[in-house]
Amino acid sequence: MSITVSLLLWVICLSCHAWLQPGRYGLPPPRPGYRPALWGTRLLAPVLALLVTTRHDAIAGILVWCMTASLAGLVVACGLCFGPRIIGTDGRRVARERRP
């Protein structure tokens, strides 16, 4: 259970991380008001994940925390790679057309 929660929190954290650099990842830029929230979430989610994972056993918890971070990174990277993209990494609009 703690693995799932930690993984989910890390996915949220790394998604925020990507969204805070929209040009680099070809994402639509977040509204100016959203940026502090994204910053906060990026900071808070790993702390929450650490609390959840180290609740019963510190050593195993830290291992789970680190490994779910890595795994979540892969999940987010694949999501960004295969998901819809609005802006190219060079900053130009490249809205994908889905062909039948």
Partner: protein
């Protein structure tokens, strides 16, 4: 402006030099490290693999061994010791719920399997099982200290490659944390893949390399004797091969083990017992490796034949505790199933970091050096490491199911088939690379993985239907992983085919 150029000059020089170091150390060590990492990844589930490879074992849930079973096991241990075999007793655990009378055969611990309820001998097929990958992982199957030393030196090489890689990629380390682009030129995509897995799994790779080197740090020095190799390793339980067997006449009878196990557990702060060593005049009950992240060799000694408590040894102290944690983290025997899967996935990713690095190294040099024989040989070896090794692993598993269960020496047959398949892959890869058909070499070996990987679950169902019914999760997991590996390989083979 001038100041910035001055500042960037040395930084760029450092990056260039580190790039050279990362490339060459990474490639030369990486060819072996990929094999070490891949086999280490399978070692995370070595016990489960051994269970999969012995479908005759019909005990699937943990039960504490009965007095009858323990008495029978002690009798077998003593009779083997009388024949000069250094046997010991491995107690049932949740991962492998049977009693085992084991001895070290120079590579793995092997021996008789007993039902923990009745003490009856289970006639399971002879196999090295997952322990073969464990042995390969840290000795390269060398059977002496040389292999351990090579693995340790390569571990240091991995640390060098990792640190130089961090220096090269330092600026983009955090911003590019989740960057993967597949729609860019192939070299850039491969580099993205290498960087993505490399950065994300950096903590795991450093932890594995560092703890792995530290566990066998003493083996780096040439004065270390082969005897120490067999006695010192955590997996060797300090009773290994080469130890003079006790004189048969001096072997004292063993009292009932049940009460001694209960007392040993109490003296070891409630930790489970892992194995029992039988000397001529005493027995030693050691704590289980699965008892916690601190992998100690805490034990309780009892005298024979009366079973009187002699001593309780608890290895405490800062250095001892640190080393216990280092071992515990590397061996991961304490890990519950979920964490074990995370170790497995991280190990796969670590292997992917190394193999993508090998591919990137070759791609970068193909235009300039592609015509050189040395380049083609390097490409052939890379094919046999990246695709040939998984293919050979699958051949090992197929051999386990296809060789007759009663074949004498079938464990060696399985291992010989593994190495034969790998040797053929090496010849095939080199042949294809030397004749400028490297893409075909990749495609054919990946296709082989696809066929064997996707076919393994079917073969398992056909050859061991009873085992599927008795322990479906184990067989589904092995089948699922092999099916996934086969599917990925087939997809990759298609992609290579398109590029070619």
């Amino acid at each position: 402006m001038m100041r910035q150029t001055e500042r960037e000059g040395p930084r760029e020089t450092l990056r260039t030099r580190m790039g050279w170091l990362h490339g060459w150390v990474g490639f030369l060590c990486g060819l072996c490290l990929a094999c070490i990492f891949a086999t280490g990844t399978l070692t995370v589930f070595d016990t489960e693999l051994t269970r999969w490879m012995q479908p005759e074992i019909n005990v699937n849930t943990y039960v504490a061994p009965t007095d009858t079973a323990l008495r029978e096991a002690a009798r077998i241990v003593r009779s083997q010791q009388a024949q000069g075999i250094s046997a010991f007793l491995n107690l049932p655990s949740h991962r492998f719920p049977v009693l085992q009378v084991l001895h070290y055969n120079g590579h793995e611990f092997t021996g008789d399997i007993l039902d923990p309820r009745s003490g009856a001998l289970i006639q399971a097929r002879e196999t090295a099982g997952g322990k073969f990958f464990y042995d390969f992982h840290y000795t390269l199957r060398s059977a002496d200290i040389g292999g351990v030393r090579i693995v340790n030196i390569l571990g240091v090489g991995l640390l060098v490659a990792v640190v130089s890689g961090i220096v090269i990629h330092l600026r983009a380390l955090l911003p590019d944390l989740v960057m993967l682009r597949l729609s860019v030129p192939p070299l850039r995509s491969w580099l993205d893949g290498h960087l993505l897995a490399g950065v994300l799994f950096l903590p795991f790779m450093i932890m594995c390399a560092y703890t792995g080197v530290l566990v066998h740090a003493d083996r780096l020095f040439p004065a270390q004797s082969a005897a120490a190799h067999h006695h010192g390793g955590p997996g060797h339980h300090g009773h290994g091969h080469g130890q003079p067997p006790p004189d048969a006449a001096a072997l004292l009878p063993v009292p009932p083990l049940g009460p001694l196990l209960a007392q040993a557990r109490e003296n070891m702060q409630g930790r489970d017992c892992g194995f029992i060593l039988f000397a001529a005049d005493r027995i030693t009950i050691s704590a289980s490796d699965a008892a916690g992240p601190y992998m100690s060799r805490d034990h309780v000694d009892f005298s024979l034949p009366d079973g009187r408590l002699l001593a309780t040894t608890l290895n405490q102290g800062r250095v001892a505790t640190t080393m216990q944690l280092v071992r515990g983290l590397h061996y991961a025997r304490f890990a519950p199933p979920g964490l074990r899967w995370l170790y497995f996935i991280s190990g796969m990713a670590g292997t992917a970091v190394i193999t993508t690095g090998l591919v990137v190294f070759l791609m970068k040099r193909r235009r300039k050096s592609g015509h050189l024989v040395a380049f083609r040989l390097a490409e052939g070896v890379t094919i046999s490491v990246t695709a040939g090794l998984p293919l050979s692993m699958l051949v090992y598993l197929w051999a386990n199911r296809l060789l007759p269960p009663a074949l004498p020496g079938r464990d060696m047959w399985e291992i010989d088939l593994f190495f034969t398949a790998w040797g053929l892959c090496l010849l095939h890869g080199m042949g294809r690379a030397l004749t400028r058909h490297a893409a075909s070499g990749w495609r054919e070996q990946l296709g082989g993985i696809g066929v064997l990987g996707c076919g393994l679950p079917l073969l398992d169902i056909l050859t061991a239907p009873g085992a599927w019914g008795a322990c479906p999760s184990l067989h589904a997991a092995v089948g699922g992983v092999s099916l996934l590996a086969g599917s990925v390989a087939l997809y990759a083979a298609r992609r290579v085919g398109r590029v070619a």
